[in-house]
């Protein structure tokens, strides 16, 4: 029977998770160079629209519809057919539509996370096709395995509270594959310095705020288990932020703002699979406490920080915004840590600290399966798209920036005196009125360099 309190909580949680993706848009948008700011924000923002449609049409049915041999759901629920206002099948106290909506938000943010790996060079049209295929062929199956009645959740019984494998390892590994196949950004190699630090913090704030819905919402009820997930989530995020702060300070002599924001995300990523399972240590003394979350968060930043450092030294690899290091590495750590710290008194399952070492193996198996599937499938999709439509913008376009060349919209317009900061003196007058519409396929020259008269 539907419970209004649980329903209220999951409705809100769904809205909170939805906000995370625009949050990611700003987190990523602030980190790139200004000439790519609008294009990078666009990646995450358009994904909210695109994946929402893909999800209600077929992806939800594939991921959560009637199980086919533990591997995938069928298309019975195509277009949400039969997904209604009554409770069940995944919860007895909230409407099926709410569960679907909540899950949709996870399907939205996962491909958005990947965009950080190919920022500043990916071709927009290819990006849309890639995202559609990725959600269908990579996300949906993995979600089914873990949460949709598939083999990882039902046979293997590996734990993933809110998406350590489905969301973060999956996105992180896909990001690695994408960075390798798409290749490095052109032009003279240069460290990308965030063009707008407050924008990065804004994004991190949205992510932190929304993550409460992400993790505590995964309880699907408003009770003590949601409370535990809420607290472990915040604790790991906080500890992650402090740890990264310390490391950046140690290595540069200065405490980094972007570092704290990144560390917070690292902590959130790592606690995601564990949020509702950990919270008491040692298990013997059956008391709730904060230590497991503190350890998970701190370790996440240590691993994430050095992963970023090492990978940034690999010349061939240009994972623009360190998606693999932050989501892949910390996601793996979180999935593993879940096997270590889970205790029955909190989430019903005992792990290493409670003497149940096997859980670690279950976790490792789930991690392995996700890594393999995500890497192979992502690489496959991209290699096909490379032949079919091409993956990158031209060198010249990359140099000019994606905002102008891909979208015809500089993020900041220098149109007016007293106008925006970027304005450097010129009042652009519209001198010819509407320009002849350009048919979509036509290769248009970058705004700053059109042919004669244009």
């Amino acid at each position: 029977m539907i419970d209004s309190g649980d329903t209220a909580w999951i409705l809100v949680a769904s809205a909170l998770v939805l906000l995370m993706t625009p949050g990611l848009a700003f987190f990523y948008g602030g980190l790139v160079r200004g000439k790519n700011a609008a294009g990078t924000v666009m990646h995450s923002f358009v994904i909210v629209a695109l994946v929402s449609v893909v999800w209600v049409l077929w992806a939800y049915s594939l991921a959560f519809g009637p199980d086919q041999g533990g591997f995938i759901g069928n298309l019975e629920w195509f277009g949400l057919r039969n997904v209604g206002m009554e409770a069940g099948p995944y919860s007895d106290t909230i409407p099926h539509l709410v569960y679907m909506a909540f899950q949709m938000m996870f399907a939205i943010i996962t491909p958005a996370l990947i965009t950080g790996a190919f920022a500043e060079r990916f071709k927009f049209s290819t990006f849309l096709v890639f995202t559609t295929l990725w959600v269908t062929l990579v996300y949906s199956p993995v979600a089914h395995w873990v949460w949709g009645g598939g083999w990882i959740g039902t046979e293997l019984e590996a734990l993933d509270y809110a998406g350590g494998t489905v969301v973060h390892i999956n996105a992180g590994v896909a990001a690695l594959a994408a960075a390798i196949i798409i290749g490095r950004r052109g032009g003279i190699r240069r460290e990308t310095v965030p063009h707008d630090v407050p924008m990065v913090v804004l994004g991190a704030a949205f992510l932190w705020f929304g993550w409460f819905g992400f993790n505590a919402g995964s309880a699907l009820v408003a009770d003590g288990s949601a409370a535990n997930a809420f607290v472990t989530t915040n604790t790991a995020a906080a500890m992650g932020g402090l740890a990264w702060l310390a490391l950046s300070w140690l290595h540069t002599g200065k405490p980094s703002v972007v570092g704290v924001a990144t560390g917070v995300v690292a902590g959130l990523v790592a606690i995601t699979p564990a949020a509702g399972f950990v919270g008491a240590w040692p298990a013997s003394d059956g008391y709730a406490n904060a230590f497991p979350a503190l350890i998970i968060g701190a370790m996440a930043s240590v691993l994430g920080f050095y992963a970023v450092r090492l990978l940034s030294r690999v010349r061939q690899l240009d994972d623009t915004l360190d998606v693999f290091a932050v989501h892949g590495v910390c996601g793996l750590w979180g999935a593993f840590a879940t096997g270590i710290f889970t205790v029955a008194v909190i989430g019903g399952t005992d792990g290493l600290i409670a003497g149940e070492a096997d859980q670690l193996w279950r976790q490792l198996a789930a991690m392995g399966a996700t890594i393999g599937w995500s890497f192979v499938m992502t690489a496959g999709i991209l290699l096909v798209l490379k032949r079919v439509m091409g993956l990158r913008v031209s060198e010249e376009e990359e140099l000019t920036g994606l905002d102008r060349t891909q979208h015809g919209e500089p993020a900041y317009q220098y149109d007016e005196p007293g106008g925006h900061p970027f304005y450097s003196g010129g009042v652009s007058t519209v001198i010819e009125g509407p320009a002849p519409a350009v048919p979509r396929p036509a290769p248009e020259p970058p705004a700053t360099n059109p042919p004669e008269g244009a």
């Binding site: 220098y414 450097s424 010129g426 652009s428 519209v430 320009a435 705004a447």
Partner: protein, 113 residues
């Protein structure tokens, strides 16, 4: 001494700078300007999906003060580095400078450059 002011494409600044560095010219300063000339630009209005042809486009102005002797050399370096062959590549202007002073030391003359 001469002041060389080059108005070039932003995306070519990097090349121009490296060319100057290789040739041993470190000192310079750069400002952001917008300019117009024969070149036209296009901007979009995302709402009605119309695009407009506009006149002013972003350029960077690279200023370098050099010994009279280096003048030609530098003009050529910049032309080579900044040229794309398309309209909008920009212009270089050369004008006289009577005196140069290094603030840090108060020294004067070509030594300063």
């Amino acid at each position: 001494m001469k002041k060389i002011e080059a108005i070039i494409r932003p995306e070519r600044l990097e090349q121009a700078k490296s060319a100057l560095t290789q040739a041993g010219f470190a000192g310079l300063h750069v400002a952001n300007v917008t300019g117009r000339g024969a070149q036209r630009g296009v901007i979009h209005s995302g709402r009605g999906g119309e695009s407009y042809v506009i006149d002013m486009l972003p350029k960077v102005k690279l200023t370098i003060v050099v010994k009279d002797a280096d003048r030609e050399r530098i003009v050529e370096l910049i032309v080579d580095a900044a040229k794309t062959g398309n309209i909008g590549d920009g212009k270089i202007f050369v004008s006289p400078v009577e005196e140069a002073v290094r603030v840090r030391t108060g020294e004067r003359g070509e030594a300063v450059l």
